[in-house]
């Protein structure tokens, strides 16, 4: 029993650490109804394309809320720069939508998507 514990405790500990460090790719996937980041980005892109600025603004707020939820899950397995990069994109996107700046909104959305793709990789 003692020999079993001596070997199994380090193995279980290291496995748990590996799972924590690699959990980002799994935990960034939607677990509820309101935390699907790629889908929200797509919807905002469509709203910006058809210049529905009010709807786009609401969706940006939704994106921001979803993002805050996801950050709590992926913070242990992701780079701070990717997380901060995405947060900055959301802030700038909000500004671009407020000033109805189509090209600015597209730039921020594309960059945010890129940060999303790299998150936890």
């Amino acid at each position: 029993m003692r020999n079993f514990l001596v070997k199994s405790i380090p193995i279980v500990t290291l496995t748990l650490f590996i799972l924590i460090m690699l959990s980002g790719n799994i935990l960034k996937r939607p677990l509820g109804k309101d935390d699907n980041i790629p889908e929200t980005i797509q919807s905002i892109m469509q709203d910006v394309e058809s210049e529905k600025w009010d709807k786009a603004y609401k969706r940006t707020e939704q994106l921001s809320n979803s993002w805050h939820k996801i950050v709590r899950r992926v913070q242990f397995s992701s780079e701070r720069d990717e997380i901060n990069g995405f947060s900055m994109n959301v802030a700038r996107l909000r500004g671009a939508i407020m000033t109805k700046n189509k090209s600015g909104a597209y730039m921020e959305l594309s960059e945010a998507y890129e940060h999303w793709e790299e998150l936890g990789k």
């Binding site: 380090p10 500990t13 650490f17 924590i20 690699l22 242990f76 992701s78 780079e79 701070r80 936890g120």
Partner: protein, 242 residues
């Protein structure tokens, strides 16, 4: 992102990973480490530090670095244990720098040691006079081993033809006021024996004792919590906060 919390979790990952890897790599004493072992230790420690506080990159690549260095360290240890030829190449070998009292200049040059280095190492071994040295060997860990000439070796009981019994290794019977019954059994003693011995020294209970040891020759050492020493000798040479 709660940076404090992330650093806390990463610290736990780094600390226990390092502990497990260090246990796997081996239990060599610091004094036995070769120069490469030092470098290995410093690098692994540095990678663990980055894993903990460098939040600009993920913990995973740092952990892989830690694992790779630790695995290579283990592999090197395994190879040197199984293959003497490789061991000679990787860890180096002892080199005789003083032979029959004569300094081996070529060996010194090869090992990149100055005579002053050898003198310093000899002084560390309490040898201040080169004429006393028969052999001096630089070990792979950089330490020097000295064999003095026979006439300078200390007199031993064997030289005097005196028979001495081995004192053996002391075993703890009481530590921090608690009786260690396992050790008592090992020495074929029981609780009543130790209590009788304690009473002989005016001790009524094991809880009054900080440390009690017994060696195979039968001599019992007892240290009580109350030392009754009024003036403790201060070995400090200048005033400090304590």
């Amino acid at each position: 992102m709660n940076e404090g919390l992330v650093v806390f979790v990463r610290s736990i990952i780094g600390f226990f990973s390092l502990l497990i890897f260090a246990r796997i790599i081996g239990k060599q004493q610091i004094s036995q480490l070769t120069f490469f072992d030092y470098v290995l230790g410093i690098t692994i420690g540095s990678v663990a530090a980055s894993l903990t506080t460098d939040l600009s990159s993920r913990a995973w690549p740092h952990w892989i670095g830690l694992l790779t260095w630790a695995s290579l360290g283990y592999l090197m240890e395994f190879i040197t244990k199984k293959w003497r030829y490789a061991s000679k190449y990787i860890e180096g070998e002892p080199a005789i720098v003083i032979m029959n009292g004569k300094i081996m200049e070529d060996t010194l040059r090869k090992m990149k040691y100055k005579v002053s280095d050898i003198m310093e190492l000899l002084r560390n071994k309490s040898v201040f006079d080169l004429t006393q040295v028969d052999f001096a060997i630089i070990e792979p860990n950089g330490q020097i081993s000295v064999l003095k000439k026979a006439q300078y070796e200390p007199l031993t009981a064997k030289d005097m033809m005196v028979a001495k019994t081995s004192a053996g290794i002391s075993t703890e019977l009481i530590y921090d006021g608690k009786l260690i019954e396992e050790n008592l059994k090992q020495l074929n003693k029981d609780k009543s024996w130790i209590m009788t011995e304690l009473k002989k020294q005016g001790i009524n209970d094991a809880s009054e004792v900080f440390l009690a040891t017994l060696n195979p020759a039968g001599s019992l050492y007892i240290d009580k919590y109350e030392d009754h020493i009024k003036k403790v000798t201060d070995i400090g040479d200048y005033k400090g906060p304590y």
